[in-house]
Structure formats: structure tokens, C-alpha cells
């Protein structure tokens, strides 16, 4: 059977990316038809800002999943890193010191996850699930129900500012996408991450330092959670213990909708970007249609299940 896509000679990854863009366009068109506010400039910019936050978090997770792992701690990591950044910024009055604290905390958590998975050999989902609850508990205890709010304008620019009429986080998103794609596609290290995820034993036999690559992806995931926490904090202008709770499921959703396989070895950051957009457009649409936020976890959960089921079924069909 020869489909149109095969006739115009698209690689499988490009074909799957195109398919996802079409889905995104269809959902967007549908929303534009039922809600006049959807295509408003304000709404679209807001949507991009929201999507960039999800993407920043999901980009690190994409690397972990590409490498055959999973990181369930990212949402709790965002909350802890944001609260630490907020505390340090309030204490020193320096946005730079706050940012450094947030990034360091994110990286540190990623490093601990990486060591648990590679050196202690705990299965990734259980190691990062354990750190999730440790971080969650420590953050709630540290904040004791308080809110820290009111940060310098220079810092808030990172999350709520505009440059050339476009929200600043969107530039961060484009930067991370470009750098991350270069890293994954055009460096040996990036290719080694794919190799580790698709067949760990073969990769190890051909000289890939498998454990070090795994450690690296967890650290990158932690670091991106640190960066995302700063953007989130700058946008909300306040830090609370529960601020990252809904984000893990959304990031997992973005990665899976974006076509990265949970079984490792296949996927792209561009796909994750489209995944983040699809998820954000759906949640934004629910908002515009005045559907209660109570529905959000249900919808996100269904999206996660459907995309991972599609992945499993397509693998079964291709006889993997």
C-alpha cells in the first residue's frame, strides 16, 4: 500500500511529526469554530507561554525516556526548586542568586535520581517515585503552608515579560529545542543516548558508556526542571508547596503525544514540542469553553493512556 506520505519520501520520524501537526491543526480549527476567543492574539500568546513551560519540563523527560528510563519526580522537583529559588531571592535580594539556587537544586535532584538508577540499580520508575515523595514532603515541611510572593521585575521578566511582542519563555523554548536537537542529532553523545535506549546491550558492547549516558539524562532532566521552576515562579510571582503537582502528568503526556516511545530509542524534541502544544491547546480550549478545572486530570490521564496505547499497538503491528 502506498500512502501519500510514502510517495513524497518522508522519513518515518518526519511522517509521524507531520501527522501530529495535522492533529494539532484539527483541534485548533475545531476550537476556533466553537470559541471566538481562541484565535485572539492574547489567547494565542498566553497559550504559547503555557506550552513553553510544559515543553521545558518535558524536554528533559524526553531525553530520559529516549534513554529507556522515566522521571516521575519532575513536578515535585519544580516545586522544591521554585521554593528554594524564592527563599534565596528574598534573603539575598539578588535574582541571580535565586536562579542559581533553583538550577542547582534541580540538577542535584537529577543527580540523585541518576545515581539511584545507575549505581544502586533501582528500577527508574520506583527510584524517581521515591524521590518524588521525599521532595514533596520536604517542600511542604519547608513552606509550612506559607506563600512567598513579590519578586524583582528583572526576575519576573523571565516568565511574564515580552520581547519583540513575544513572551520571553517562548524564546527559551526555541533555544532549548534548537540546542537540544543539535545535541541529540549531531553529537556522538546524543546518538549514544538513542543507542542506549533502543538496545542497551548492543550499545554497551559497541563501547557506549551506558551508565554515564543514563546518569547524564537524569541530570539534564533535573536541570530542566530547575529551569522550568524559575520560569514558573517568574510567571506566578509566588511560590507555594503544591505548585508543581499537575505538571508531571502534563509533561509525561506531552512526551508521549509527541511520539517518543516509552520503550526507548525513538522520538524527537520537535515531537515533544508538538505534544506540549496539543496538550496545552486542549486544556486551553476547556478553559475557553468554561469546563471546570476539575476535569483536567481526567482529560490529561485519558490523553496519556491513549497515546501510550497507540505507541504499544503500533509497535505490535510492526512486530517489534
Amino acid at each position: 500500500m502506498s500512502t501519500l506520505a510514502q510517495k513524497i519520501h518522508l522519513a518515518p520520524e518526519q511522517r509521524s511529526l507531520l501527522l501530529r501537526l495535522v492533529v494539532l491543526l484539527l483541534i485548533g480549527t475545531g476550537l476556533a469554530l466553537v470559541s471566538s476567543a481562541f484565535l485572539g492574539a492574547n489567547n494565542l500568546l498566553n497559550l504559547l507561554r503555557q506550552a513553553s513551560l510544559v515543553f521545558l519540563l518535558a524536554s528533559g523527560l524526553t531525553l530520559v525516556i529516549l534513554c529507556g528510563g522515566l522521571d516521575l519526580s519532575i513536578g515535585a522537583n519544580v516545586a522544591m526548586s521554585a521554593c528554594l529559588a524564592a527563599t534565596v531571592m528574598k534573603a539575598t535580594g539578588s535574582p541571580l542568586a535565586g536562579c542559581a539556587a533553583g538550577l542547582a537544586s534541580g540538577l542535584l535532584v537529577g543527580g540523585v535520581n541518576g545515581l539511584l538508577v545507575t549505581r544502586v540499580r533501582v528500577p527508574p520508575f520506583i527510584a524517581t517515585y521515591g524521590t518524588l515523595w521525599i521532595l514533596h514532603g520536604l517542600t511542604y515541611w519547608f513552606m509550612a503552608g506559607d506563600t512567598i510572593h513579590g519578586f524583582p521585575p528583572a526576575f519576573r521578566f523571565l516568565g511574564s515579560g515580552y520581547w519583540l511582542g513575544v513572551p520571553v519563555p517562548v524564546f527559551l523554548m526555541i533555544g532549548v529545542l534548537a540546542l537540544g536537537t543539535l545535541f541529540l542529532q549531531y553529537t556522538t553523545m546524543g546518538q549514544e543516548i538513542y543507542a542506549t535506549g533502543s538496545n542497551t546491550e548492543a550499545a554497551a558492547l559497541s563501547g557506549v558508556p551506558v551508565l554515564n549516558r543514563r546518569l547524564l539524562v537524569y541530570m539534564l532532566s533535573g536541570g530542566m526542571a530547575g529551569l522550568a521552576s524559575l520560569v514558573f515562579l517568574a510567571r506566578l510571582n509566588s511560590a507555594e508547596g503544591d505548585m508543581g503537582e499537575a505538571l508531571t502528568l502534563q509533561a509525561v503526556g506531552a512526551v508521549l503525544i509527541g511520539g517518543t516511545s516509552l520503550f526507548g530509542g525513538t522520538g524527537t524534541l520537535a515531537g515533544t514540542l508538538v505534544g506540549a502544544l496539543v496538550l496545552t491547546v486542549v486544556l486551553n480550549g476547556m478553559n475557553l469553553l468554561a469546563i471546570s478545572a476539575n476535569w483536567q486530570p481526567l482529560i490529561t490521564g485519558v490523553i496519556v493512556i491513549v497515546s501510550v496505547a497507540a505507541d504499544a499497538l503500533s509497535r505490535r503491528r510492526s512486530g517489534d
Partner: protein
């Protein structure tokens, strides 16, 4: 057997907790507090027993806490709506079984990795609970329900009876039925299961559905304690259950597990939580402490595993 070697570890932990907390926690060693621990531990046991079987099949169920919350909401909403507690109980059990079946079908028939499938159903259950309850708690279900948590039969607290019956059911299922043989084979040796002509997928679905049924039963106790339902009442409780199973010595790989270990693990987690409570440690830090114990148990597991590796 590996499970027998592991038993002393958790037993020592429990003994140390009991002795230490009796010495430093005010009111720990009292009859009233023992009842309190028994009530809490029963709730946890009803989740941890099925979680043991699930983990023995190299699976995981992250949806239990959300699903338990959902079941309390279903219990309250149905009882109030229909005026019949019996109908409410039936609906809560049904809701638990349905979420368990959904997990089982996604994992057994669609071959989805358990931790992601149940992360998805966690979202589904939490969303359903919030939508059904409109984000609020539902109370005033009536006195009949209250006797489950606080009542006694022949001098024994009702939750304790739940615990004994649940343990007996799981003991018989695991050690004296074909289903038990299937559970063990699902973890260690799926090929053997096929060769023996047993239904691999059906058994796996049954494991998760059984988990759902016990989540429903736990919802009766929790609903009784709350006097109704709350959409986020049990969020994260699956973590305590997983912690109890891990501390009890069931391994996340290779399908080795023991119900006795889980019972001790449940007591250890329950006693620890209760003691830290009496020492007025905030519940947030208790969660972190339970997490630290789990990671420590996994590190110990791993060290032992490496030792075995070197020896052979």
C-alpha cells in the same frame, strides 16, 4: 528462600520502632493508641496485600490512592442520592473493580508499561472524583457506616476483622489456588505459564481487578472514618502501600514476594507514621521519612543482590 532471608530485616525494623517509640513518644504504649494503629494499619493493609501480588507480577499500581478517594466519593454520593447505604457500598466496590479492570486491560491486553498505564488511570480516577464531588467533601452518610471504623464484634475492633479476613483471603489465593501459581509465574517465569496452558492475560487482569476490589473495601473503612467522601482524601496513599511492600522485602524484579513480609511492612510503616505523629512531626516530613526508608530498603536490596552476584 530469598523472602525468608529478608523477613528478619523488617522484623528488626519493627521491633526497633516499637521499643524506640515506647521510650520517647508520649502515649505510644497505650491501649487507645494500639487501636489507633490497628485502624490505620488495616486501611494500609487492604492496599498493600494486593499491591504485593501486583509487584510480584513485575507490575505497579500508582492509581490506588486516587481510586480510593474516588470510591469514597462514589460511596457518599450514591448513599445520599439513593438513601440506601447498601447501594452506596455496592457502587463503591463496583467503582474500585472497574478502575482495577481498566488497569488490568491496559496492562495485560494492550501491553502498556504498568507504571504509565496506572499513572494515566490515576489522572482519570482523580478527575472523576473531583467532577463527581464537585471538588468538595460530601458528608452525612449516616451512622450505619460509622460502625465500620469504630465498631467492635466480640470485643474485637471491626477494622482488625477486616485485616484478618483480608490476610486469610490473600494467603489462600496465593498459596492454595491455581491463581496463586499464575501470580508467581507472571513475575518469574511467563513462559512456564504458557506451557502449563494457563491464561496469562486473564490472570494478570484478575490481579489488578482484585486490587480494585480491595481498594473498594478500603473505601468503606475510609468513608466510615470521614463520615462520607472526599475527592482527595487518599491522594498518595499508594505510596505508603508501595513502601510497606518494599520494606517487607518484595522485590520489584524477578517476582519474589511474601505476604508475611508485607504484613510486617504495613505494621512498620503504620507504627512509624503513628509514632512520628505523636512526636508532632508534620505529616509532610513523615512522607519524606517514609520515602527515605523505601530508598534505604532498595539500597540494601541492591547491596545484597551485588553480594550474591560476587559470590556466584
Amino acid at each position: 528462600m530469598g523472602s525468608l532471608q529478608r523477613l528478619p530485616g523488617v522484623a528488626w525494623l519493627l521491633l526497633a520502632l516499637l521499643l524506640g517509640l515506647s521510650a520517647i513518644a508520649p502515649g505510644f504504649a497505650s491501649a487507645a493508641n494500639a487501636l489507633n494503629v490497628a485502624q490505620q494499619a488495616t486501611l494500609l493493609l487492604l492496599l498493600a496485600l494486593p499491591m504485593t501480588l501486583i509487584i510480584m507480577t513485575e507490575g505497579l499500581d500508582l492509581s490506588m490512592g486516587a481510586s480510593l478517594s474516588l470510591c469514597t466519593v462514589v460511596l457518599a454520593v450514591t448513599s445520599l442520592g439513593s438513601g440506601s447505604l447498601a447501594l452506596g457500598i455496592a457502587a463503591a466496590l463496583l467503582a474500585g473493580v472497574l478502575i482495577g479492570l481498566l488497569n488490568g486491560v491496559l496492562i495485560a491486553w494492550l501491553d502498556l508499561p504498568p507504571f504509565v498505564a496506572t499513572l494515566g488511570t490515576l489522572g482519570v480516577a482523580q478527575g472523576l472524583a473531583l467532577v463527581l464531588a464537585e471538588g468538595r467533601s460530601t458528608s452525612g452518610v449516616g451512622d450505619g457506616l460509622a460502625t465500620l471504623w469504630n465498631g467492635a464484634v466480640a470485643g474485637l475492633p471491626v477494622p482488625l476483622l477486616f485485616a484478618v479476613v483480608a490476610w486469610a483471603v490473600f494467603h489462600v489465593l496465593l498459596h492454595h489456588t491455581r491463581f496463586g501459581v499464575a501470580v508467581v509465574a507472571l513475575g518469574g517465569n511467563r513462559e512456564a505459564l504458557k506451557l502449563a496452558g494457563m491464561n496469562e492475560r486473564g490472570s494478570l487482569v484478575a490481579v489488578y481487578a482484585l486490587g480494585g476490589l480491595f481498594v473498594g473495601l478500603a473505601a468503606l473503612l475510609l468513608g466510615s472514618r470521614l463520615g462520607g467522601g472526599h475527592p482527595t482524601a487518599a491522594i498518595g496513599m499508594e505510596f505508603d502501600a508501595i513502601a510497606a511492600v518494599a520494606v517487607g522485602g518484595t522485590l520489584f524484579e524477578r517476582g519474589k514476594g511474601s505476604l508475611g513480609g508485607t504484613v510486617l511492612g504495613v505494621l512498620a510503616v503504620g507504627v512509624m507514621r503513628n509514632g512520628l505523629n505523636l512526636l508532632s512531626m508534620p505529616s509532610s516530613l513523615q512522607v519524606a521519612a517514609v520515602g527515605a526508608v523505601v530508598i534505604a530498603a532498595l539500597v540494601l536490596d541492591s547491596l545484597r543482590g551485588q553480594h550474591r552476584g560476587f559470590a556466584s
